[in-house]
Symmetry: C3
Subunit: 472 residues, 3 copies
């Protein structure tokens, strides 16, 4: 069954009719994707995708975690021993079949929505996945994937992706970005985003080794705290030269509290010699977040903050299957006190900008909207991860708008590594915003003309301005 043209536009007929109009005006607008996890290497290589399982199942922890939660083993889904190639355990056709057989588990979830939408939109397939249809779907998708039109950059072009930001380690040479920039006629501009999480935690086992790599790439000696800061500054400049307008940062909590140089240097040394305590590592990390804020106020790269995730909750799964395998879980999250010191330093600086994301939705009306409603530097990030789903998105708009309006929000962020879901995700957001705006109009809180203006701004000027993108 093809996706219904009115999906997500609401249940009240008058609202739906108006939402449909608002949606139509933005349905085909170019896609701006200022934050996501598509790999620059994949785009630069532009090889065809291998098979439906590799495309839709194995690398997508939204998909694998719910199957796992219902008793499917992760190795049945192509996840292997940490470091093993995806798909090592089961043949791709079987992986795909496992998804189809368990299709009912996804009822009411956004994964169901995205997969259905992507199959129809990208592959023109409207069969409902099931044991009966698994093989036919597998064959049809496989056949299309072999066609040159279905290579990564061709797909991005077809999707109307005007700009795509990747997420990259500071030690990344950015060679793939250079290659992409050199391709004439590529309709999608691909820019990097610096994400330096791995350098914030001197308690991590690979910290020392990462510092060495970064020293080499940056030409700064990361053996000292000052050297590490300098190396990151160097790489920020390098990223900006390659088009980056933003950094990203994922931390367990949002505390950004400064240390003196000698304090930080002492902890740095303890990190290098392996003697650092968990408390020391935490203090070091919180100071790094503070320093990143100062750097952002200095160079104007927009700081994205994704705080409040408990990573790798189930140690045995982490040991066997590695990170990003579905057991990163939300923590109760606050921003107002944790960011106080940083915002007292740079919160009203015109150069500084920070976009706040949360997986604890209580923070939307309590922390994020009030901060964005006073500080010129603070923007309310789009609903993230567990909250990037129809009902949660509606709650987000209701929680944020009354305090911060529309113009201090970030615009939609797809945050995905699943390339084929990009248009489906942006389309979902456009539909939900159209519905929200239509409800305000029908309830006589907003004029229809202004709703149209806002709907258009939400997919163009708002994300451009929030992320300081070219053309804003």
């Amino acid at each position: 069954m093809p996706p219904h043209p009115d999906r997500l536009l609401g249940i009240d007929p008058a609202t739906r009719a108006l939402a449909r109009e608002l949606y139509r005006a933005v349905a085909d607008a170019p896609i701006i994707s200022p934050h996501g996890h598509v790999s620059a290497e994949m785009l630069a290589g532009n090889r065809p995708f291998g098979d439906p399982a590799e495309l839709f199942v194995t690398p997508d922890h939204y998909v694998t975690r719910l199957l796992h939660s219902s008793g499917v083993q992760l190795d049945q889904l192509g996840l292997g021993e940490s470091g093993a190639a995806p798909g090592a355990g089961s043949p791709p056709r079987e992986i795909w079949r496992t998804l189809c057989v368990n299709w009912h588990l996804f009822a009411g979830t956004p994964v169901r929505y995205w997969l259905t939408d992507s199959l129809a939109r990208v592959f023109d397939l409207t069969l409902t996945p099931s044991a009966d249809t698994a093989d036919e779907l597998y064959d049809r998708v496989s056949e299309l994937l072999a066609h040159p039109d279905f290579r990564p950059t061709e797909l991005l072009a077809r999707f109307g992706v005007e700009l795509l930001a990747t997420t990259d380690d500071p030690a990344d040479s950015l060679e793939h970005h250079r290659r992409l920039a050199s391709i004439a006629g590529l309709p999608t501009r691909v820019i990097p985003t610096l994400r330096a999480d791995a350098y914030m935690d001197p308690g991590a086992p690979d910290w020392r080794q990462r510092l060495e790599v970064l020293s080499n790439v940056s030409g700064e000696d990361c053996g000292t705290y000052r050297g590490l800061l300098e190396a990151i500054r160097v790489r920020r400049r390098g990223f900006a030269e390659h088009g980056a307008t933003a950094t990203d940062c994922g931390v367990a909590d949002a505390w950004a509290t400064s240390l003196s140089d000698p304090q930080a240097q002492a902890l740095h040394r303890q990190g290098l010699d392996g003697s650092i305590s968990p408390e020391g590592a935490r203090a070091y990390r919180r100071n790094m977040l503070f320093q990143f804020g100062l750097m952002a106020a200095d160079d104007g790269l927009v700081m994205q903050l994704h705080a409040g995730v408990i990573r790798n909750h189930h140690t045995p799964t982490f040991a066997r299957f590695g990170a990003d395998t579905g057991h990163d879980l939300p923590a109760a999250t606050a921003y107002t006190e944790p960011l106080r010191e940083l915002l007292n330093h740079v919160g009203t600086s015109p150069t500084f900008r920070i976009v706040l994301f949360t997986v604890d939705e209580t923070a939307f009306s309590r922390d994020i909207a009030p901060l964005a409603g006073f500080y010129p530097s603070v923007y309310a990030g789009a609903p993230w991860w567990f909250l990037d789903a129809p009902a949660a998105v509606r709650r987000y708009r209701e929680a944020v708008t009354e305090t911060a309006g529309f113009y201090k929000t970030s615009g939609f962020i797809d945050d995905t590594r699943a390339l084929c879901s990009i248009p489906s995700r942006h389309d979902m957001s456009r539909r939900l915003d159209a519905r929200y705006l239509a409800e305000l109009v029908v309830d006589h809180q907003l004029s229809e003309a202004e709703a149209q203006t806002v709907a258009r701004a939400l997919v163009s000027s708002i994300p451009r301005a929030a992320f300081r993108l070219p053309g804003s």
Copy 2:
């Protein structure tokens, strides 16, 4: 006025029409009640209920607390000195009148809904309670209660209750369950549930005495920590032999953190000699929760966890009227970090299963749904206590479904000691789920056929599977 056939089915006409259909298909399905507080002794005795006050007011803290909050004294409602018989203070007719006179206080509450629905459904009474109608209602209910059709097991049969789980102390001999099991032709299967809360807290004044009783019943010496664990294991086996498929556990917080045997034994001894500190008692309790989890992974009894209640908030009321008198109150509640150690041990064990309940609704989207969306052992429990009401139930479905779907939820739990409210509560849940599903269909997120499948599963296969009930 009789309850409207379309009550709770929503305000949008198209949604309501579809919800009506979905509801009708499950309205008369047998009731499965895997968790509640109806007394096995009452069922085994099967004596008629005394009077309307005993049936609807005095033992129901949902009712008494709201009257109390508006200035009615608890002794006016039949609550007596701790240990005194219910109804000691006021004649039942006066108690009933107090409820009727204050009927307006319950506008917009589920108590109003359940009482109205039960009066109509069970007693065919549709008069609105008020000062004017109090006596007529009292007389009519009293008259019916004297009829054999209104004895407890006859009512359960009439309600279509196929299975009913009680909640029982490990020291319970289960004689009433044996007697119930021996009654030929009883259409309701009644099974016990082991709830060992009282043995977890070595700081409680009656702990030592309880251990003695449990030692006698189990044949294990609870004078030691290992002995207590063994006694509980023995009783779990005994309960399972009597049909139990689950345990329950109510704790102030969900922390389940292990102690070494010597640590636990030292605290056990301090509990016995009265020297234990509050911190020690807490550590002991948290280790017991961990141990109960290991036992569950061992014997396969489903572990229900009801965490986050501050018990007996008002000491003077507790001293005079005892526990369960309306001042148990919600605490801010987390599950993700507190259960980490336990889930790292047994979270992916196929034997282990845990159902999480909360009275802090922020935990639904932040903790419970994400845990249930990864761990095969974790289920999202139905809305509980303060949250078992129409708007809260809708929030629950919206908060949980997008992350965990329908098939990792528990199905409805009535959690009640008010026998006559059982069909009304299950009926409310069926109506609300029909409404929620209808909204997904009208918004084109779910097909009508799948909504029908889910609606049926929610009252049959889903609770059966979650609680490992016979026939699942």
Copy 3:
């Protein structure tokens, strides 16, 4: 465009039609305003307002913070160096223009709603603010403000404000209230409210000086802790003699925990000699909150508690522009444990009454409604500050009603210093309650007759009773 007569009444046609009826029955009911920040001095002086900027922009931190968050400097909005006269920085016409030019920023916010509604209701102006209309609007409002009908007390009379409570320091002589009370034929009764926050914090720089002033006014020596308590008792009596029925209290958290007299006296002395630690100041403040509770149980003044605000988050803005300049921000807030000691002392006293407000909406269903649903003394305060907006108000009713009903809520509180917004704010609340009640009726949870009764009670008997106002 004039505000639509059906605004805020909902999107479903049947619900809206019923909401319209419910609303109409209360639309013109007299306004009871038991809590707000209109100045008694301004009313007693009854001088005309100066200009549109002074009326609508400069003193309203709801307006200035959102403009500031989009890059407008506070001095462009008339805020000056701390202590400087409002409007010092920019000419009022420019300030007004800044608002009009940035009108789009307020789309979807209650500020937009109130301003639009007030311009139409009070000034009969329905032009949409913009760069083009700024001057015309400015001139028209200025012209009207010069007319005697637009002086403060004339406006209150026109708005139908029957009772207005101000908020006042205990050291206030209440001379303005005496003068207002002596004006024959004033249709608005103006009563004071004692707010003693400034005396709770011995760590505040002006504490000692304030004690001296209070000593003079009260005739009690505030140099000792007992003296301060006695001074406050004296002033509570003085306020009550001037018609006060309530006190107010704003604190960082709701902990009310007692100290012994010697402990409190020791901290008092440390406050006077400047040696008190932050922990000591906090313990002193929490004991003061406890003592205020005991006083309330003694004299029957209703205790309003506004807890959970982080004041003056951005120190540089505070230093330059003073308090109440838009960077007071919500903190995560609990009431159940923090108020336990106080409620154990006086929670069931018929004299004691406490109204709980929050800017952390998670507290509504978790803390406030359950407390109000047991303790006769506890009332659920109306949505406050960031939460006084259409969607937040609907969430409030949904979060509170199912546990505490309607009769343990406070009725609407406008909490405003913007006099012209008073009728708009009460009107908004009446519309939203009508909508909420209509939804219950259409969903067959409430009869239409009872919805009408509740709608009327919410604007009359409920606030009268909650605040022990004359005529209740």
